[in-house]
Symmetry: C2
Subunit: 335 residues, 2 copies
DNA sequence: CTGAAAGCGCTAACAG
DNA sequence: CTGTTAGCGCTTTCAG
């Protein structure tokens, strides 16, 4: 392939007739330099089209200016938009991002964790969903999670899931629904949106109807699963709060297939409110997560850890373990 | 932060009572090792929780096993899914991916290009859309583009855009449309989907109606632009071929607002057929790009360049400069 | 103001 | 079979 080497510091030094030290100095604007030296080095860099080797720089400096982001998959608009927001927030601090799609598989997440550590990233933001990855316990590295409780000592940033679940359910009730069902990914005590749904139902006399279809069910299967779930409670609900917008879309498709009119006979509210799904389905009423704020805060907490100006994981005290942001209701024609 | 260093090769060597060479050897399974040595090293690695420093490894080996992917933004499902497909294809070869969102801005793309080169990635796959970035000319590095003609010497992988444009338009005609309009991002000779549209119209007596709204128009504005465009040709069209699904969704929203029934009075066909949008809008008829094949082929061509078993950019001959894959029509209720 | 030299952690000759 | 010894490209004392 006869590719000539990229030029190195030494090449620049030689061409400029100075030492590598001097070149390094002008590159990093450190110490006093004669104008003459600066000029000659600048010219040599220009002539050679020199670009510092960040790999070498990182090896020495013990800082890669890279952080890892672990999420299920950027193929889902929610995580795609989250990734872009994180990237933007990071850019201000001079960091870049290594995006890792765990695809909801624990082995893949573990693999990526090792990759990130091996590559000596300066910190990790984890928004993946695999339970019980003990690896995180032993990670001695700046770490922040998004919408995921790993451990009380690891800062977590998220929207006010419980309040949001309550809000979504209340919107359905206000619109006239009497028996709203919940369609979520996994039911349980850890599911705060479900808690909010139950909160809102308490005192209305309505019985909670919780349907669970894993969010990473392969696509052709998912629609069927959702339809089975809805059919199984047929006649016992007149509204659905789906904990993500794509699931809400599946509910709409079910209704169309069954000839159930929305919103007169069925009201639907989704969750996330991503720009992409909003464009695809502007009719869908939903709860919007403030992704920009969440990303910005997660980055802020992470950078504080990296700079040592914030608590590291394992540290008690200091930053509260969870930061929550309020959500916004986006009206639509589905309720 | 009082974090003691991550353990190094030397630490492992000391603990195992062997030399660093030996440790390096067992790590890379190179040369002959006594079983005893292997065992002791393995134990030491285990005890210390040692993870090889990939940065150092890359510095020496002149290979980072990382490739850069430049795209507009993973916030759009099409590029999000493309990124995941590329990542999967790459994983088989032991490569990882650095995803760069250019956000459609030339400055950002240039910046990322420098970043990738500075980080000494082994190659670049570019699927961004900025015109006239002269930087690419001077890049002496394995490079493949996706759906983008940079130069005849740089391999390009894409779907059969022209055939696909023709197919989409023909589907509209077959469904009974007489005057299909085209809604695209940028009109011009380079727009092969537009060519296909014109091909299909030739001989039908229908006059081409081409509407252009840039795909990266900020979201709230876009819907308005699309509506203005459609209003401007009101009464002169009875179908729309939109060159991406999100644009098609905007057409549907326009129709709903104007009280135009789909598909009886207006037929619509989109483009891309991503899983996410398919889930959100299963009713939309569209043309599906074989993202998996495209990604796999792009990676194959890139890896061939990296391994030196394929032509480098600038090389004439060898691999044809463009590889095209056929698309598939996905039926829906919008036509 | 500038340069020589010692590493950062790892790999690869080149001897034993 | 194993250890010694150079570097990879860059930053950073420490002396001029």
């Amino acid at each position: 392939m006869a590719r000539s080497h990229e030029p190195t510091l030494a090449d620049v030094a030689e061409r400029a007739g100075v030492s590598v030290t001097t070149v390094s100095r002008v590159l990093n604007a450190r110490g006093y330099l004669s104008q003459d030296a600066k000029d000659r080095v600048a010219r040599a860099i220009e002539d050679l089209g020199y670009r510092p080797n960040q790999v070498a720089r990182a090896l020495h400096g013990k800082k890669t200016n890279t952080i890892g982001l672990i999420i299920p998959t950027v193929a889902l608009p929610f995580f795609g938009e989250l990734a872009v927001e994180v990237e933007n927030a990071l850019a201000d601090g001079g960091y870049r991002i290594l995006i890792c799609n765990s695809l909801g598989r624990a082995d893949r997440e573990r693999e990526y964790l090792n990759l990130l550590i091996g590559n000596r990233v300066d910190g990790i933001i984890s928004g993946a969903h695999n339970e019980g990855l003990c690896e995180y316990e032993s990670i001695r590295m700046p770490l922040v999670t998004i919408d995921r409780d790993l451990s009380p000592t690891i800062p977590n940033v998220r929207c006010d899931n419980r309040g949001a679940g309550r809000m979504a359910t209340e919107k359905l009730l206000e619109a006239g629904a009497r028996r709203p069902a919940l369609l979520t990914s996994r039911s349980g005590a850890h599911n705060l949106r479900e808690q909010g749904y139950r909160d809102a139902l308490a005192g209305t006399g309505a019985e909670p109807l919780v349907l669970a279809v894993p969010f990473d069910t392969p696509s052709p299967l998912r629609q069927r699963r959702v339809e089975e779930a809805l059919d199984s409670i047929a006649g016992r609900f007149d509204a659905v709060f789906a904990t993500d917008d794509l699931a809400a879309a599946e509910v709409l498709e079910w209704a169309r297939g069954r000839g159930v009119d929305v919103p007169s006979r069925l009201k639907v509210v989704g969750f996330d409110g991503t720009t992409a799904i909003r464009r695809a389905l502007p009719a869908l009423a939903t709860i919007r997560q403030p992704l920009d704020l969440i990303a910005r805060k997660a980055v802020e907490l992470l950078v504080a850890q990296i700079d040592g100006s914030g608590p590291s994981p394992g540290d008690a005290g200091g930053v509260p373990s969870a930061v929550e942001f309020p959500v916004a209701f986006l009206p639509g024609r589905t309720l």
